[in-house]
Symmetry: none
Subunit: 232 residues, 2 copies
């Protein structure tokens, strides 16, 4: 799995020890996960709210709050799987964490392979039907897990290139992308000169997604540079 593939699950790692974070970043990154890191409970909650991560790895020994309370707090508003990683191995700790809403509990030290296996379990539990990765633009939805795009509730068929192009722009919404960047990502590094490709396929995308393709609301042109998608 490509590390920057938008379909690879986003993991929010919460641990105050930089060493542990480095370790997890390396291990998970090598297995195709995208990582988000937090060192405090406050940071963790903030990131959890602003990002649509697929799973959360939570250390209980945080400097600014009790991990059990953090878990309970998260469960008030999100169902993202939470795997607790803790140095505390007492049975009561496990029971408390699991009853607070955690989905699994691993005691340090643990094996990476077991962690990955338990993460896979947690990820496949994610209730089917609820997309973990969804992007919204106006009345348009991009369901990244199902690879389905809808507009006003109606499904829109996109060819592979159109879909790639759209997700690329959507992931970098608000940012201006140059021809070279787009061509490299969608067509591969060999086609960096074919600026024509982008124009043709962008036109096709606009026809399908914009109300009036002559006056685009979302897929905007940045003259002399290239394209940009409006932020939601």
């Amino acid at each position: 799995m490509n590390p920057v593939d938008p379909l690879s699950p986003l993991v929010l790692v919460v641990d105050d020890e930089p060493q542990m974070r480095r370790f997890l970043r390396a291990s998970l990154g090598a297995h195709g996960y995208r990582i988000l890191e937090a060192g405090t409970a406050a940071e963790a909650v903030m990131l959890a709210m602003s990002h649509n991560q697929a799973i959360l790895l939570l250390d209980l020994g945080l400097p600014d709050a009790d991990g059990i309370a953090v878990t309970r707090g998260l469960r008030e508003w999100t169902q993202t799987p939470i795997v607790v990683i803790s140095a505390r191995g007492r049975e009561d700790d496990k029971v408390a964490a699991l009853d607070a809403g955690a989905d699994d509990y691993l005691t340090k030290p643990f094996g990476v392979k077991e962690l990955l296996a338990r993460m896979r379990v947690a990820l496949r539990h994610a209730t089917p039907g609820t997309p973990q990765h969804e992007l919204t633009f106006g009345a348009r939805f991009i369901d990244l897990t199902r690879r389905v795009v809808t507009r006003d509730g109606v499904e829109i068929h996109l060819t592979p290139i159109e879909y790639k192009l759209l997700t690329l722009l959507a992931r970098h919404a608000g940012k201006v992308l140059t021809h070279r960047q787009i061509l490299k990502e969608v067509w591969g590094p060999g086609a960096v000169e074919q600026t024509h490709y982008v124009r043709v396929h962008m036109a096709e995308l606009r026809k399908k997604l914009e109300r009036d393709s002559a006056r685009p609301e979302w897929l905007l042109t940045e003259p002399a540079v290239d394209y940009r998608m409006r932020e939601p």
Copy 2:
């Protein structure tokens, strides 16, 4: 919770040691669970098919079959949570069991409180009130326990590969699956390049399941990506 309340969760305990079963019967019974017991894999599968238990506690060291294989077999047709309880504590054993479809893995000896907590986690993961032993789409039914497919009430004979292909698509209804994913799941990781297989067998499936195989209503093609089953 009243111990004899018919609404209390039914637990299928699979372990060949009578002592262990007695222990679990007592512990779980005291917490209001109803118990069903099996000492062999064959017994376990039979009971699992005839009863609608809420959760399954499975010992890996059974006399007549490998616990991993039992797990995999059960996962062909049921989504009942499976908590593995094993004396084997090696990381590879855990990974194998979890990847085979188990939802949790406890190493003997374990604390009852932890077991109960993990059972609560597994139970709250279970999709509320829907024991998925049957899939429906249109006038077609897939009975996963009996491995029988019907259309308009008439039974349809499917070859093993067709059945695998159909259940794969049906379980991921709505999601677009790439030919790589399909080939890996149905034919195994070695056949990832043989995109032809899918086309031929998909055609066969459509002939049997669709009214007009030229204009499929359920088994849809996603050009240049692969296939997708319409959601019910």
